[in-house]
Point group: none
DNA sequence: GCTACTCGGAAGGCGC
DNA sequence: GCGCCTTCCGAGTAGC
């Protein structure tokens, strides 16, 4: 073997095809699972909507709950500051 | 009850708290699972990198593999489109 | 002319190619102008950033200013209502 | 001045109101121009429709025309990619 | 740290 | 008129 750049080289192939294939398939499988979850989430929103809830508002609630309270209040402060700057001259 | 916006209204509360809470928690749970999958994917990339593979290239390959079917069908669509545009009016 | 489905038919071509081409080119031209404006906007944000402003906050300010005040307060009300429902049991 | 966050601070105001206002108004102006262009485009489609063309098909054609260059270069990229993946490690 | 890319959400247009 | 689908915009993430 003239040169060895690490474990990817087996001495047989330039790239270890089997290993590459395995990595790619694992990732693609995980991606599919993610996609499936996205669809599940969509369904839940649809169900909530069917029960009379406002989907957009639920999204905002979830967004708020996921945010760090400190960061959030910092942002609010800045927004108020900017709005004040716009309103005060 | 003065107004009825549908099943979300129980006659007791303005909004059905328990139901709302349930929907939100289901969604948040699914979101966490998605996040976990994203981390798994990241780990697989890290592992591939540790085995000497080029992460950027793997990303690109996966991206293209996932797009290819669309590309194909788009071309089909284009052909049909022109045929329709020419023949159908 | 055996059949006439409207002005698009000239009696020469099934579709009026010249006209079709003209419409398409007009639209594509307008799209390019839109794209150019998007780039201009991006530049302005960059300039604001270079002058020490928080781009994300400016975006929010613009968003707020563009919204109908009534709709906005309605949304706020609903958010508060939902949050209360979550907090009150 | 207790702290200096850069050019946005003048020593007089927490934020440079005039500058902020200027940036925001520039952006809002550009947004309006974009919106106007969107309306123009909509009008052109309406006109095409009035001349017997199928709007949906025109949209599709424009979409595909705009994607084609990307597709081509993506395919080139793919080839290079595989070559790189195979040859360069 | 900044830039570029990808993903998710929001809005608008189209069909039923 | 409502729901579906597509397109556009903004946010977050990863790479240079």
């Amino acid at each position: 073997m003239a040169r060895d750049k690490g474990p990817a080289e087996t001495g047989t192939d330039e790239v270890n095809s089997g290993q590459l294939r395995a990595f790619i398939e694992r990732i693609e499988r995980l991606n599919e699972e993610k996609k499936a979850l996205s669809e599940d989430i969509k369904e839940v929103y649809g169900e909530a909507k069917g029960n009379g809830f406002d989907v957009k508002i639920i999204r905002k609630i979830i967004s708020i709950r996921s945010q760090d309270p400190d960061k959030r209040s910092e942002e609010e402060t800045l927004i108020d500051l900017y709005l004040a700057a716009l309103g005060a001259n």
